[in-house]
């Protein structure tokens, strides 16, 4: 799975979890860019991503995600590993 595919999957998950079909993710997107993406919903998104890719983030990864790109990189590392 390449970076673009991972980004596309994440986009689907964001739309599904935040119930907002107009979300378009880019690597640079941060929580500040999306209204519904608050700390509460963050956990929900993380859990959904973990289930979709059958991976598990570490707590420091979760705390250090600054952007969608960080997330995708962490996913890519775990999926290919």
């Amino acid at each position: 799975m390449n970076q673009n595919e991972i980004l596309a999957e994440c986009n689907k998950i964001f739309i599904d979890q935040l119930d907002n079909p107009s979300i378009v993710l880019k690597r640079e997107t941060t929580a500040a860019d999306i209204d519904e993406w608050d700390s509460l919903n963050h956990i929900q998104i993380i859990v959904a991503i973990e289930k979709r890719f059958k991976i598990r983030f570490t707590s420091s990864e979760i705390q250090n995600f600054k952007s969608v790109g960080d997330m995708c990189d962490a996913i890519a590392k775990k999926v290919t590993a």
Binding site: Q17, I43, Q44, I62, Q63
Partner: protein, 575 residues
Amino acid sequence: MEFKDIKANLKKDFTGFKKVKVALLADSSTQYLAQAIRGMGYEKKLDIEVWEADYDSIDLTISDAASELYSFKPDFTFVFLSSHKLKKKFYKSGSNPHFADDTLAYLKNVTATVSSHIKTNFLVFNFPDALDPVFGHYSGKVTASFNYQVKKLNLELMHWAQNEASVSLIDLCGLQAMYGSANSIDSRMYLGSDSIFSLDFTIVVATNCVQVIEAFTGFSKKCLILDLDNTLWGGIIGDDGLENIQIGDLGIGKAFTEIQLWAKALKERGIILAVCSKNDEANAKEPFEKHPDMVLRPDDIAVFVANWSNKHDNIKYIQSVLNIGFDSMVFLDDNAFERNMVRTYLPEVTVPELPDDPADYVANLNSLNLFETNAYTEEDKERTQLYKAEALRNTASLTYTSEADFLKSLDMVSEVKEFDAFTIPRVSQLTQRSNQFNLRTKRYTEQDIKHMAEDHKKHHTFSFTLSDKYGAHGLIGVIILEKKDAHTLFIDTWIMSCRVLKRGMEQFMLNEITQYAKKHKFEKLTGEYLETKKNGMVKDHYKNMGFTEKGEQWQLDVTAYKPAACFIKNSNTHE
């Protein structure tokens, strides 16, 4: 359900749902739990408003008389101390061997403080079990081990709840055992946001909390209807014969024995058992009468229906005999077609999916927690007998030409008294569960009932039993009078069990309360009818009883009242 479904529920329309106020007092973050409780409430048609104390501020919240908690006036107050914090406190205390006692004392202090400001039902979370992190198995021999203290605390919590009507427990320990601690705790969430539970487990906990609230608000299942072939035993009695059905201590038979033991234990708790099977009646009854390994016997089944009609028609028949709501019935059948037929025709009946493999039946049913309750009384144990006696009465009534002759022949006696320690649980239960013959449908906890029973200045209470030559009905009537002023008694509550309809019990009850009113120089009895979806049968109750309409209320002139004719004797009146 997933968490996003919970969130979707939050945006839906709660109009017309029953309103319930819930407060969360916790020492960890409860935002997810709060959302999940409200979201799950939607599934049960409950409009649950959740108030959360500020993060980890139980002591501050309850000691402040001006706290929002006290102006919010929650119906239910959850008290949730996390096991993470508990463990930390334990080790910080230097493995205090009195830790359980101290924690219990703390919890008692919390509920006592809150109770000094408001009246609320406490739902206290117990504590998950785990292997002892320090002593391992040896913790069983060491009182200063965390494992020992947690298990002791859980037991002490039960003792507390058994003696304190306002305190009930949420069995977090049981939930976590069922779900597995690896699935229920997400340490990363704890580190990141100080929430304890994984999102999935949050939903499990919230579901349980809502089921408990539901039981408190007057909703509970009363009847379990059982299919027979491949539900209560393996095989088909009509084809395989008595010797070849699977039940007992061998192989697959064990699974069916388990399900029968479960049904029997429910029956002992007061759930009515009925059978609904497509079979010849003689074939269907044979195992109950003759098979040595059957747990359930003919006496355990209140209504036995075996024929070739549609199951939904048979369930309608069972409903008419028992006179309880469809929404209080659970139907168990291994056959998906039958389940779907019943779901289609009787959507109010709960029809759980059964797994394909009978080995999984009981575990699956346990996880659904179908028969949640908030009361258990002596009478519950006898319920099946009560309904069987009723069937006898119905048969006898056909042999009399006039209703009066029949009623006379019953030799009915009623014991009338004020609520006391023995009757309070049952009285509370009647206020919680009676839907039909219930004039104002005021739901009262045992605590509420106790207050009114003791408050003689403001209230006078009556409980009524009824027995006849066929057996005892138990406590079947409740009246609570409120002393409005020196002249007026207001009927706050008038409830009668539907199983004593058409016996003249209403007239008897009115005779008793007017007698009390006269004796204490009251002149007027007032009452009102508050309509619900289910109490249509008493719409004209006060009119029928000779009251006159005064605006929204009904009034009876006590001084002019002449006792109505009835065939029930007061057990205190010796003639």
